[in-house]
């Protein structure tokens, strides 16, 4: 009978960008069970709704995460707009779509870099982050910020992107696409990279449903769900295909994210072509009263926002269910039966964001 041992993994580990702890029950080198624990960066941002004006909360929700900060502000704004029946001008919807897709490209490139770093491919890591830098520059040009953008508001957006800026961005993305093809080809075709990804961390379609997985993690298990297809913001005007994979392994998750980068570029191109010339925000009068939930597709997967208002400037409750929170049970499933050496890589394949998870 193999000897059982428990190995603590994290919260400080070279592969972890953020703190999470796992107790790994091992039989020799094989993981039998993984028990995750979080709680190192909890801030209690949700409870601030009872102390901060509902308009100011847009900027608080942006601070839930440093990667998908724009989408957190957008999700919260959409929920309050739903309660107040605010019709957001179409230009603002298009601008939100463009910034959201830029966030997706930069998040996926960040993930690809971290993945390359996890299996020791340093030059690939640097190439991925070099490309990501261009997206951050685009954010800086359009919003003034590289991490926190503060362009969302209840009723629309605060900043515009003029036509010449949008065309400049499309041209940058067109140039970037060639470099992206070359870089992502290594992830998809290199023998050593594939040997670390193919067949590792299997999550079947049934397990993905049972464990409540979301986003690329779910789509790589063959489930066809992408919240953008529900048509929020300007996605109802954009023509795009749902990206899935039937591999159910780490390689499948990598393929889905890579394809989504190119898809996001195409979505931005379409949005720039179709963007109408309207106001940037609607007038919002009074205070919200009622409750609403909104689902949107963040880079890491479906996020859920619930807002309950009482007719005053302070809300009763705000709930954000982030994608990583939903993907943690799926992570424990993929870790069961894997080799100890694959653990860092498997944690990365859910694209964990712990500050999102703990809020």
């Amino acid at each position: 009978m193999p000897k059982r041992s428990i190995v603590p993994f994290g919260p400080q580990h070279p592969v972890l960008p953020e703190p999470i702890h796992l107790d790994l029950v091992l039989e020799d080198e094989k993981v039998i069970e993984a028990i995750p624990s979080i709680g190192y960066v909890h801030r209690g941002l949700e409870s601030l709704v009872t102390k901060k004006d509902f308009n100011e909360m847009v900027y608080v929700t942006e601070r839930i995460c440093g990667i998908c900060s724009f989408m957190h502000g957008m999700g919260y704004s959409m929920a309050v707009e739903k309660i107040m029946n605010v019709e957001v001008p179409r230009r603002a919807e298009y601008l939100r779509t463009i910034w959201a897709e830029m966030s997706r490209i930069h998040s996926h490139l960040l993930w690809l870099g971290l993945l390359a770093d996890a299996f020791g491919f340093e030059s690939l890591f640097m190439q991925s982050w070099r490309l990501r830098e261009k997206i951050l520059d685009m954010f800086e040009i359009s919003t003034g910020g590289r991490v926190i953008f503060s362009v969302n508001k209840i009723g629309g957006v605060l900043k515009d992107m003029p036509a010449d800026m949008l065309n400049q961005f499309v041209s940058i993305l067109n140039d970037m696409e060639k470099d992206l093809r070359a870089t992502t080809k290594v992830f998809l075709e290199d023998y050593t990279v594939k040997s670390r990804l193919v067949g590792v961390g299997i999550l079947t379609k049934e397990d993905a449903i049972r464990r409540g997985a979301v986003g690329p993690m779910m789509r790589a298990s063959g489930i066809e769900v992408d919240m953008r297809k529900t048509g929020y913001a300007a996605y109802n005007d954009i023509d795009f295909e749902l990206i899935t994979s039937k591999e159910c392994d780490s390689y499948g998750r990598c393929c889905v994210r890579i394809d989504e980068i190119f898809q996001s570029i195409e979505i931005i191109r379409q949005a720039v072509k179709k963007i109408p010339d309207t106001e940037l925000s609607a007038t919002v009068k009074g205070f919200p009263n009622g409750e609403a939930f909104v689902r949107l597709e963040q880079p890491r997967g479906e996020a859920f926002y619930y807002v309950r208002a009482n007719g005053s400037k302070f809300l009763d409750r705000m709930r954000v269910r982030t994608p990583t929170f939903a993907n943690l049970p799926a992570l424990t499933q993929t870790l069961q039966g894997c080799q100890f050496a694959d653990v860092p890589l498997l944690i990365l394949t859910i694209d964990p964001c712990i500050s999102c998870t703990e809020r």
């Binding site: 624990s37 979080i38 709680g39 190192y40 909890h42 209690g44 949700e46 409870s47 009872t50 449903i209 049972r210 464990r211 409540g212 997985a213 066809e224 769900v225 919240m227 297809k229 529900t230 409750e291 939930f293 689902r295 479906e302 859920f304 619930y306 309950r308 009763d316 409750r317 709930r319 269910r321 929170f325 939903a326 943690l328 049970p329 703990e358």
Partner: protein, 118 residues
């Protein structure tokens, strides 16, 4: 079961597990569980999704009343239930894994409850 608004149904405690089992057998995934405290009562909302379809079930319980755990049916509920217990002090009975208020390791007891409601 009473429809409060579109896609939100109010259920009684005895209806919870049959509803959860039905969702599981129909391959719905657990989207989230949200706890709120209003008018001296807990409101626990269970959200499920199948494709793009969504269904929310709301359970309203008294402050000192226990809520049955669904974590033995949906393992994904473990974190949600521990979160509700730690942040709001909701009594969830028969949890598959009880982290003993150590999910977020917060010093304050039931930090999401207002002082007057504690």
């Amino acid at each position: 079961m009473e429809e409060l608004q579109k896609d939100i149904y109010k259920i009684e405690k005895v209806e919870l597990l049959p509803v959860i089992m039905e969702k599981k057998n129909d391959y719905w995934r657990l989207l989230q569980i949200c706890c709120a405290f209003a008018d001296g009562k807990y409101e626990v909302t269970y959200s499920f999704a199948s494709g793009y379809e969504i269904a929310n079930y709301r359970l309203v319980v008294e402050k000192d009343e226990e809520v049955p755990s669904i974590s033995r049916v949906y393992k994904a509920a473990i974190f949600y239930e521990n979160e509700m217990k730690e942040l709001f002090g909701l009594n969830v009975e028969h949890m598959k894994v009880d982290l003993q208020n150590k999910l977020y390791r917060i010093d304050a007891e039931v930090p999401f409850m207002k002082e007057e409601d504690k």
